[in-house]
Amino acid sequence: MVYLISIKLREDYSNLIFYLSPLVAVVLTLFFGSFIFLILNLSPIESFKIFFISPISNSYGISELFVKATPLAIIALGLSYCFKNNIYNIGAEGQLTMGAIFGGGIGLLFNDSTSIFLLPLMILFGAIGGALWASIPALLKTKFNTNEILTSLMLTYVALFILDYFVVGPWKDPAGYGLPKSMPFPDAGRLPVLFDGLRIHIGVYFAIIICFITHIVYNKTLFGFKLRVSGLSSKASQYAGFKYKNLIFYTFIISGACAGLAGLFEVSGPIGLLYRDISPNYGFTAIIVAFLGRLNPIGIILSSLLIALTYLGAEDAQLFLKIPSAVGFVFQGLVLFFLLGTDFLNKYKVSIS
């Protein structure tokens, strides 16, 4: 018997498969993950318990889940504007860093301030810093036609070196025993926490508000409609008279501002000062979050919680299973592989005859 596999472009667009495929990807990742645990001579069930259940089995853990999910959600929500428009800003890590430098810089400049306006000013500058950094690839793209993927990626490393320069140079804490870190921000420049003794902070509210606004923009505004059209076909959008260059610019600015905001929240929230490693790859991981959430605002919130769990699980795995916390990256990589793979079924109909 001969089987022929035929692959055809789907004519009937299936919403069910579109929203189901992230779940399939997660299940496949867990399946593959248990395989990896077996190779490492660990019981998959025990390991999964340590990885996915025990980190969030108490209030501290749940608070930490939100601490990690907040920056991921905010960045991914911003990135969704770019991705919807088919513009690949992959430099969110750099924009996050610039937001931390700008906003954190304000905190260090007024380090004896007790004003209630200090924190709002820092937040504003955080967003401006991220937006400015994102405007560079946007300008280069619209003025000189440069590839935004490459420029935004390159600028990430430039931003990381700028932060490094500040914390080992001019902003180094004189009382910090020569360590590469700034002095702590004043209390007025710290992000309020939601509950005493836990690290969950008001950034969560920002994430929810941004999610809400994004939902409205995508579904109820002309801007959201333009994004969708030009994402499907930039030519069609130009024929329709939309200013495509402006769209590129705005989406970059929005995603940069969000990333900058997330960066400022990190340094004025859980960290409290500036130093080299302010972000455990949030800017890159948020790309996974955005795709896993199908560029849908609510989907992004859900996927940010899931990916945040891989960070927490990895920390626990290091403690209790004695495997490096980088195992979290294995899961993140796998889930993206599987998601991209299952997307195939979304676009094409596979039939075996």
């Binding site: 440069t146 600028l155 700028i162 490094d164 990256f329 294995v330 993140q332 993206l336 592989f337 991209l340």
Partner: protein, 289 residues
């Protein structure tokens, strides 16, 4: 400065730049065929750790290199399957590969880190790297197969219409890139360090990526660019040693800034862009259109 110091510095530049040449020339061939692989850093790390573990277990440098290459073939094969057969987004798939590779290499290498090994003489690989640039340049611009690779990268629909197998060609170039990256990783953990440490490639994968653009997709320029990038990194240490007051981070960001400037220069002119960048870069090939 005396002559011995200069020779010493040149020697260090030679030794430290070679992985950039390997990873860069591999990516150059991949990109020439129209595929952008952002997974270099992951490929290098897995190549480095596989080579290291094999060497610890067998004590044989040949097996070590062999399994390092195999790891590159497998990982880049997965990447190729995803972007070519399943037509996934190249950017996202490459990032997934890098993130996965960082995690996998750290997990595999944990047990072995700190084990002393007998390193390999780097000069073999340095010699091979120069030869490689010559061979790739010859292949791309003087052979028929090279012409097919470039045709596929310029316009995959035309190449397909002419009867060339776009998918097969890209499988070859992606796997070639994967092998080169894993050799770069092998070189770092076996010849350069020689040891294993989590994340030891330290961003060289991204510099190699920048390098391909900096070189405007030309093999000989890539070699020159690699030595400029490598030289700048070494110069930073030495300049600070002799008391030049420029922050080191300034030198570290030079390769990235230089790449952006080159990119702006070639992109601002349509003809120049056509002459440098493969036109089908990062555009998925769909046979059924």
């Amino acid at each position: 400065m005396n002559i011995e110091l200069i020779i010493g510095i040149l020697n260090i530049v030679l030794i430290s730049t070679t992985p950039l040449v390997f990873a860069g020339i591999g990516e150059l061939v991949t990109e020439k065929s129209g595929v952008l692989n952002l997974g270099l850093e992951g490929l290098m790390l897995v190549g480095a750790v596989t080579g290291f573990i094999t060497l610890v277990l067998t004590g044989n440098h040949f097996y070590s290199l062999f399994f390092s290459i195999i790891s590159g073939v497998i990982l880049s094969g997965i990447f190729a399957f995803l972007v070519l057969n399943l037509m996934t987004n190249q950017i996202a798939t490459g990032l997934a590969l890098t993130i996965f590779g960082i995690g996998l290499s750290a997990m595999l290498g944990k047990k072995f880190s700190g084990t002393p090994i007998e390193g390999l003489n780097p000069y073999y690989f340095i010699t091979i790297s120069f030869l490689l640039v010559f061979l790739v340049s010859y292949f791309l611009f003087k052979t028929k197969s090279g012409l097919i690779v470039r045709a596929v990268g310029e316009n995959h629909n035309s190449a397909y219409a002419l009867g060339y197998n776009v998918i097969k060609t890209r499988y070859m170039t992606i796997i070639f890139g994967g092998i080169m990256s894993s050799i770069a990783g092998f070189y770092i953990s076996i010849c350069y360090a020689p040891m294993w440490q989590e994340g030891m490639t330290a961003g060289r994968g991204w510099i190699a990526l920048a390098l391909v653009v900096f070189a405007t997709w030309k093999p000989w320029r890539l070699l020159v660019g690699a030595y400029i990038f490598g030289g700048v990194a070494i110069m930073q240490m030495n300049l600070q040693a002799i008391g030049v007051k420029l922050p080191g981070q300034f030198f570290n960001m030079m390769p990235y800034l230089a790449t952006i400037i080159v990119l702006v220069f070639i992109s601002s002119n349509k003809l120049r862009l056509k002459l440098s960048a493969p036109a089908s870069l990062n555009i998925p090939f769909e046979k059924n259109q």
